[in-house]
């Protein structure tokens, strides 16, 4: 388990590399708005228009080695639920079923305030479910939660979880690498060495 010192001081962003968000939405307008919301909140942003493109970006659909994934370093994925082709839910499932990507928090955005849909997403491993239109306060809350706790644990029994549960008791600040929320598996020391070198 990697134990780097906390490099991210929320009050001084120049010490810390920006968190990188991959936003997925088929709507032009929503992409423009979410991009701005995230940029203003000091995230690095990549926007794509479909789940397929998202998977391509993440390197999941091709036979790439882990080095490429390291370069991308996506810290958070925010996806619209209703999209033609692959829905946000399907994208979520694919990410959570991937050994390389499953640690990346995924947030669903949807205009539907449906308890069954919310529960289904959370049970499938979504970190949060945001009602559209997404607000600055939602993004700020997301950022705080990610900075504080890395990849929060999900309690599958809990229903209607609409806000982050910060499992602070189990996460020590020293174990958080602010660029990269994917926890290094113990059997790839080269990966963690490469990350350290970047700091």
């Amino acid at each position: 388990m990697e134990t780097t010192t906390l490099c991210c001081d929320p009050t001084n962003s120049s010490d810390c590399k920006e968190l990188h968000v991959l936003a997925v939405d088929d709507s032009n307008i929503d992409r423009k708005v979410i991009q701005k919301l995230l940029q203003i909140s000091s995230f690095k942003v990549t926007v794509v228009e479909s789940g397929t493109r998202a998977l391509q970006y993440l390197g999941l659909d091709e036979d790439k080695n882990s080095t490429r994934f390291d370069d991308l370093k996506v810290n958070l994925i925010m996806t619209d639920y209703s999209m033609p082709g692959m829905t946000g839910f399907e994208l979520l499932k694919k990410i959570k079923n991937s050994s390389t990507l499953r640690e990346i928090p995924v947030v669903i955005m949807s205009s539907e305030n449906s308890v069954t849909r919310i529960d289904r997403c959370l049970e499938e491993g979504a970190e949060d479910y945001l009602l559209k239109p997404v607000k600055l306060s939602d993004v700020r809350r997301l950022k705080d939660a990610i900075l504080k706790s890395g990849a929060p644990e999900i309690d599958p029994i809990q229903t209607k979880k609409r806000t982050y549960r910060l499992d602070q008791s189990s996460k020590l600040p020293t174990s958080i690498d602010c660029h990269d929320l994917t926890s290094s598996p113990p059997d790839s020391p080269q990966q963690s060495v490469a990350k350290r070198a970047r700091l």
Binding site: S27, N28, K32, V33, K36, S111, K135
Partner: protein, 169 residues
């Protein structure tokens, strides 16, 4: 000496007059903007967009709204086409309107969004007449808001940011 004094007074006078005019225009624009909210044309999402606007992106709101009107033209065209078909494909109509409603919601177009909701209710009830009727309402609200926002942005651009346009030497 007297001549240059007169000139100074004249300059100051013109400057004050222009400043008053600009202030008046700013007040007018503020009043128009307020009426959009009071009359229910726009909701808090529009304010959220305004909050995202800054010096590095001073026309953000207008850009988003322009993008909405450009995109919507396509949705409305598709809806027009779908409403011509017999029998009506309510699923397709609902799906198209869902997207259009989402976009409307993203710019804070409150009345448009309400009419979209009404339309979708008629789709769910498989009520063809209801769909066609509410679709006209959607288009009406859409066009009304478009005209209002175009005028509003044009005025805002004319006046420019709230700072002095001409300074006395």
């Amino acid at each position: 000496m007297l001549k240059s004094m007169e000139f100074i007074f004249l300059e100051v006078g013109i400057y004050c007059h222009l400043l008053m005019e600009r202030n008046q225009m700013h007040r007018q624009i503020a009043s128009i903007r307020k009426s959009f909210f009071d009359q229910g044309y726009l909701d808090e999402q529009f304010i959220q967009l305004e909050e995202l606007q800054d010096n590095s992106n001073p026309n953000f709101v207008e850009e988003v709204v322009t993008l909405f009107y450009r995109d919507s033209a396509r949705f409305l065209y598709n809806l027009d086409q779908a409403l011509e078909k017999r029998p009506l494909d309510f699923n397709k109509l609902d799906s198209l309107m869902h997207q259009f409603k989402g976009s409307s919601s993203s710019i804070g177009a409150k009345k448009v969004k309400t009419e979209c909701t009404n339309f979708r209710a008629h789709c769910n009830a498989q009520n063809a007449e209801g769909c066609k009727r509410t679709y006209q309402h959607v288009k009406r609200e859409y066009t009304t808001l478009k005209k209002k926002l175009e005028a509003y942005f044009q005025m805002s651009r004319q006046v420019g940011p709230i700072e002095m346009a001409c300074r006395p030497r």
